[in-house]
Structures are given as C-alpha cells and as structure tokens.
C-alpha cells in the first residue's frame, strides 16, 4: 500500500494483517510495524513536498496509534469489543460485583499504607504482586470471553481490568514518591 493509497478505514488488525483476536502474534505485529515505519515515516519524506510530508505524518501517526492499541493487552481487548459494537467507556453502566469492589478497596488501602511501612519498597512490591496477578487472571478471562463472543461477560471483565490497571498506575506513582523522598 503506497502512502497515497493508505487506507485509514480498515481495522487495525487488517492493517497489520493479523486475525481479529485477543491473542495476537506480537512478533508479527512488531515486524509489520517496523515495515510500515520504513515505508511511511516522515523521515523517508524529509526531502519531499510539504503535502507529502504532511501525509507521511498523518499516516505514521495512524500506524503508531494502531500499534499502540494492539500492543497493549487492555487496549487491544477494548478494541476487539469496540469492533463488535460494544462500548467499554467508563461512563457506560456496568454492574460491579460487590466482592470485587471490596477487594479493590482493600488493595487501595494497602497501597495507602505503603509509605508508612517499615520497609515501604518491600510492602509496595507485595501489593504490586497481588495487583499484577489479578490483572493476569482477569486478562485471561476477558480474552477468553471475547474469543467465545461472550461480549457482555467480556465487557464486565474489561471494566475490572481497567480498575486494576488504575491501581497499578497508583502503585507506580507511589514508587515515584518514594524515589523522590
């Protein structure tokens, strides 16, 4: 596909010549990504006309965001659901299991207690380990549901996954605070 005929409409999976699935061949994704960079990157058009350079920026930006979406497991799962016509926006109403919410609150409390712990790094690591394990199991379950086209289940699992990723981010920012102190 030359840069003039670049198709912005096709799905990200089609763009990278991958089957629509949560379990993708990340090596192929990477390889196709690099191929397209070599073809479309603005540096390849550094000496070309302004119009073509602008086109190169737009095409490469599209390729980059497609890659970003597929390379990150959560974003990829969200995208699969989006292709199936199901929104995973935070605003869309999804009932959360009270047990899950309890667990969330406990994890959050553990994180809040980290800075005051005798060995904050150690206690951060143990909370983080718990979060990471939950992310892994939730991700596996969400991906299975998507592959089996059980989209309602998948949506609820993805909502949990989103919550857990946020907790992971919080753990990282606590680590940054510890580093700065």
């Amino acid at each position: 596909m030359d840069i003039e005929h670049f198709n912005f409409e096709q799905s990200y999976f089609d763009l990278f010549e991958l089957p629509v699935s949560c379990n993708i061949d990340t090596a192929q994704l990477r390889e196709k990504f690099m191929d397209m960079q070599r073809l479309y990157h603005p540096d390849r058009y550094a000496a070309a006309s302004d119009a073509l350079r602008l086109r190169a920026v737009q095409v490469t930006a599209h390729v980059n965001s497609a890659h970003q979406t597929l390379v990150q497991p959560l974003q990829r799962a969200e995208y699969c659901l989006q292709l199936a016509g199901i929104s995973t926006d935070a605003e869309t109403d999804a009932k959360m299991d009270p047990m899950f919410l309890m667990q969330q609150m406990e994890l959050r409390e553990s994180l809040e207690e980290v800075p005051a712990a005798t060995d904050p790094y150690k206690s951060l690591d143990s909370v983080r380990k718990e979060i990471d394990q939950l992310i892994d199991s939730t991700a596996v379950a969400a991906n299975e549901s998507i592959n089996e086209k059980k989209y309602v289940d998948a949506r609820d699992l993805i909502r949990r996954w989103q919550f857990l990723e946020k907790l992971g981010d919080e753990a990282n920012s606590i680590e940054a605070q510890l580093d700065d102190a």
Partner: protein, 630 residues
C-alpha cells in the same frame, strides 16, 4: 483515487544527484557543523582551521558586529552587547528568567510581550534571533565548504528540551534560512556517531556529556531501531568552566594574589588555566605561568593537585548518573555502552571515574567535541536521501505527556509520555455551564495531575458554538505531534457543525513578531497544498468520469435508457461539469456521487448486456464440461 505517481522513498532522487546536508550541534558554549563527504563524516573548519565555533554574538549599531571566536574574545570590552549561552534562554518566557539567570550578563528590554528580549545596540533581540545568527554563520561556513546551498540540516537539542524549546530552536533554524529535516536529541546523535544504531541486539546506552558549562547524563534504550530516552539528569551550571575556575582559585590562593574586579587579569588567569588543563590530559605536570603588568606567576601544577581540584565536580556528575539510573529503573550493570561527549571528558580523571562507576570501558574514540555534530551529519545524510539503501530510521518518543486543563485545574492527558511519534490523538470535551458558547483550552506538558505543576505550552479559544445545556456540547480536541516532537492542536465543536475558530498563542509568544507570521505562513501553505492537491485530484476524477460517460452514451444510451432516465443522467453530468469550476473538492465529490447514483441503472444494464454478449453461443453444457474434467 490518486493519479499522481510517487516513487519509492529514497529512490526519488536521481542516483548521481547528491543533496548537500549538514548536522549542526547548537551548543550552549560552542557550536559545530559537520557533513558527509565521500562517505566520511567530518566537522567543517573556518578559514583558520578552527572547527569549534563559540556560540557568542556581539551586536553593534548595524546588527551583528562580531560572531564566534571574535565575539568571545571581545566579550569583556562590551559585555552587554555580547550575548553568550543564549541556549539557556531559548523557549523560555519572560516569567521564566531574570537578568541574573544562570550568571549571565544581559539587560532585558521592558515590553508587554511574554517573550524575553535582550537589549542590545542593534535593538531588542529574542533568543531565537540570536540563535538564528549563530546558525546563519554555521550555514555560511557549510555552504562555502561544500560549494552549494544546503538542502537540509539536522539540528541537535538536549533530550530534556520541552516542546516550546524545540519549537523555538526550529524557528531559529527557519529564520536562518535552513530547512530542518529533523531535530535529534544530542545523546541520540552521539550514539549514532558510534554506530550504536546499527547494532543487532537491543542495548542500553548511557551518554555522559560534560560540556563547557553544562552536564547531562542520558540513558537511552535502543530496541530494533527505536531510540527511547529512558531518563535524563544533569546540572545546567556544571562544566569545564568550573575546572578552569578551580585551577585559578588554587593558583591565586597559592600566591596570595588579589584579582578583585580586574577583568583583564581574570581573563589572563582563565586562559592559562585552560592551557594547564589541556596539558594535564597527557602530562603528569604542567607550568602555570603568566605575566600581567607587575604581576608574575610561575607555578607547577601536578596531576595529583589537579585531580584533587576536579574530584568534587566529578562526584557531582556521578550523583546525577545515579539519579538517571534510578529514574530509568536500571542497575549500573544493565548499561551496555557508555558514550563520552563534551571537551571536558578528555580529562583523564573524568574518564577513569565514569569508567569505574559504570564498571566498563567508556567510548572515547570519536573526538568528544565533535561526536554530536558527526551523529547529526550522519542522520542528515540519510534524511537527504543520499543513502537510499540505508535502513537507519530513528523512531522517537515524546519525552513528556501532553494534555489539556480541565475544570478545577486538573490535567487530562491526551498523549502519554513515551508515545512513538508522530502521533495524533483526539478526545472529546464538553461544557461546564449552561449556555456556554466559548471555551478556553489550555495545553500543558508534564506528568503531574495539577496544571500548576506542569509546563504551560499554550492557550486557545474556541468561540461561537451554539449555547446548550452544560455537558451537551461536544468539543473534539486533536493533538498532533510531528516527527520532531512538535505539537499542533486543533479543536472543533461537533454538534453545531460550526467550524469555530481556534487561535493558537504559543507561550513563548512571538505573536507580534515577523518570525511567527513567517512560520504561520509556512503552516498555512502546507495546509493549502493539501487542499489544492485534493481539489486537483477531484477535478481529474470528474473529467475522467464525464469522458467515460460521454463515450458510453454516444454508443448505446438510446438502447438502454428511456428519455426520463437519460435526462436525469444528462442533468447530473452537467452538475459535475459545473462543480469542476468550484474551488472546494467536496462539492465536486458530491456532484460525482449524484452522477454515480443516477447512472447506476444504466451501468448495470450495460453490464448485463455485455455478459449476455460474452455468453452468446456457449451452452450450459460447455460450461459444465469446462468445470468438471470428466
């Protein structure tokens, strides 16, 4: 459909046509320009054979009075008209700096502009203009040496430069009449000079850059052609000048000399300190001897003494190294290569200490003053298309997250840090109050949640959309970051369909200067180019459609169409012809769509007929025979 033929990237230039490209290291203290000649990278000297160009400009009544070495040598005669270290000011707003910033000597012009302007005999100068004068001198040097006009350049910037500082650097280059292929991070350029981008395996690189007045340590990760800056740390007031001062302080203390405000004596002492420092890179001891009026100093400086004088400075740089490693979440032994940059890394004690710290040999083969410019030249040569077979591609990431201020002074990130560029991301926002018809958008850069902790990049206003209930308006804000990491932001209110106007006011605010209008023009032109191109494509499309239709109609219109159908097509054809004179591509497109629609029946009847024609004389049997070999 595109009708223009585009050759493969890199193949577009004729094989014998060599484009003149150069790499420019625009430094705080010194600048250099390098180029590739017959496959070899070299820095370009002036007519005295000097490759180092001091980043100093002296202004007089008629403009630039002296530049480079001459300006530096005359600095003490005319301090307020001699601007040095201007890189420390580039991209900063008037609030960011004061006249005592970083020990620099200059007077700021009092204006209502947010851009700091330095008062000189040649008028008020912005940091962009001073940088442009330096770049212009380097451009002249390169063009004289290469014997032709430069097609494009790569200019290096510190990895920690934010969007405004990068934009300002690019503006300076444009003002100097240079076409900037790309801004490249200084540590990345140094790694390229050592060919580390060609390594097969992924690697982690530390670039230790001890210049005349600044120290930077950057940790880079190179993974399959993607350079990522993991962390940067450093000290903007630490460098070789401190070593010179330490030597002078020691000598002065030894001899009980009173320097006081004697600028001439100070200059003589510092010059001799530099000679001693250089001598001690290869010798065990050096003579410090000056004769200044009545005063005569003759003193032996041993390497041991010298090393004790620089020990504290080295320790301070290592502190930054530890900080950079911590930020990158790496251990010392995870660093695969250590690249040494900056003249001060010639000091043996510096090399030894860094080597000991990272527990490995450090890379010093390439002249540390020249390594950044050489890397920039190598990249410029590739970008100019002089190496069509080159696989080298630098993928960069944005160093800091980009976002927008939302209600309550919070930051909503739109493009997170470490996103590969170029990048484009759109996000919808809504109104806060009922009946709101305008929205102020504040673009910020940084990792923090609160706007006041981030750097302000610019403010926009989106005006004139329909008043609706709070939360009903849908404003789509689009961020686009180009390959240099430069940001363009646009906003549109979607429901009203009104294309409300957005005004961009960069924080470093050259809104009232010629520079900005020049740059804005170039942006507008690029957009117009795209529009013009699309229009042209649609016109050609329309022409072809009408031609094809006329040919078909002349042949068999009466056979397939009744009068009513024919009239409809003729009307639609006329509309397409009319629309071709329009100046927007969309109206041609929609006229074409109407024509396609009304011709559908004609096209399908002709198609059926031609299939019938093709099948004439063939029986079902013969098809069956073809299909099955029995």
């Amino acid at each position: 459909m595109a009708l223009l033929q585009i050759s493969e990237p890199g193949q577009s230039t004729a094989p014998h046509q060599h484009r003149l490209a150069a790499g420019i290291d625009l430094g705080t203290t010194n600048s250099l320009v390098a180029t590739i000649k017959s496959g070899l990278a070299s820095v370009l000297p002036d007519d005295q054979g000097e490759v180092i160009f001091p980043s100093v400009v002296r202004y007089g009544k008629d403009g630039v009075a002296a530049i480079g070495k001459a300006a530096r040598d005359q600095a003490s005669e005319d301090p307020y008209n001699t601007i040095s270290s201007v890189k420390r000011l580039i991209g900063l707003s008037a609030e960011d700096i004061t006249e005592s910033s970083a020990g620099m000597m200059f007077k700021l012009e009092k204006t209502d502009s947010s851009v700091p302007r330095i008062a000189t005999d040649a008028g008020a100068k912005t940091a962009i203009e001073v940088s442009a004068d330096i770049l212009r001198a380097l451009r002249t040097r390169a063009e004289l040496s290469l014997g032709g006009e430069l097609t494009g350049v790569v200019v290096t910037v510190p990895a920690y430069f934010d969007d405004t500082q990068r934009q300002a650097t690019k503006d300076a280059a444009k003002l100097a009449g240079l076409n900037v292929y790309r801004l490249v991070n200084e540590p990345t350029a140094a790694a390229i000079a050592y060919g580390l981008d060609r390594a097969d395996a992924d690697s982690t690189i530390a670039v230790y850059d001890l210049g005349g007045g600044t120290f930077d340590i950057s940790i880079l990760k190179l993974e399959k052609g993607v350079f990522e800056v993991l962390s940067t740390a450093g000290d903007t007031a630490l460098g070789g000048d401190d070593i010179d001062n330490a030597i002078v302080d020691w000598v002065v203390a030894q001899h009980g000399v009173e320097v006081g405000g004697n600028a001439g004596l100070q200059r003589t002492l510092l010059d001799q300190a530099r000679v001693v420092k250089h001598a001690l890179s290869t010798n065990d001891q050096a003579q410090f001897s000056i004769q200044h009026g009545e005063l005569s100093i003759n003193s032996t400086v041993s390497l041991e003494t010298f090393n004790s004088l620089v020990a504290e400075l080295i320790q301070n740089t290592l502190k930054s190294c530890r900080n950079a490693l911590r930020q990158a979440k790496l251990k010392k032994n995870q660093i695969d290569n250590v690249v040494m940059v900056g003249g001060s890394t010639r000091v043996p004690a510096v090399r030894a200490a860094v080597s000991e710290f990272f527990e490995r040999e450090v890379l010093t083969d390439i002249n540390p003053d020249e390594v950044v410019a050489i890397g920039a030249a190598l990249q410029a040569d590739v970008l100019a298309g002089n190496k069509p077979d080159s696989d080298m591609l630098l993928l960069d990431v944005i160093p800091l997250s980009l976002g927008i201020e939302t209600h309550g002074g919070l930051v909503e990130q739109i493009i997170p840090r470490n996103t590969t560029i170029p990048a484009a991301r759109a996000q919808e926002f809504t109104t806060y109050k009922d009946g709101q018809t305008a929205m102020a958008l504040h673009v910020v850069q940084g990792e923090r949640d609160l706007v006041r902790d981030c750097r302000s990049l610019g403010r926009f206003e989106l005006r004139g959309f329909n008043p609706v209930v709070a939360g009903q308006a849908r404003i789509q804000v689009t961020f686009q970051v180009d390959a240099d990491g430069l940001l363009t932001v646009s906003a549109v209110e979607r429901d009203s369909g009104v294309q409300a106007e957005v005004q961009i006011k960069p924080s470093y605010g050259l809104r009232d200067s010629e520079i900005e209008s020049m740059i804005r023009d170039s942006m507008t032109n690029a957009q117009q180019d795209v529009a013009a191109r699309m229009l042209q494509e649609q016109r050609v499309e329309a022409e072809r459609a009408v031609e094809a239709l006329d040919a078909a109609m002349a042949k068999d219109a009466d056979e397939f169409l009744d009068e009513n159908e024919k009239q409809k097509i003729v009307d639609a054809r006329e509309a397409v012809v009319q629309s071709s004179t329009a100046t927007d591509a969309d109206s041609i497109k929609s006229a074409l769509r109407v024509l396609e629609k009304v011709s559908e029946v004609y096209v399908s009847r002709r198609m059926n007929a031609s299939i019938g024609e093709a099948m004439k004389g063939k029986t079902i049997d013969s098809y069956e025979k073809q299909d099955s070999p029995t």
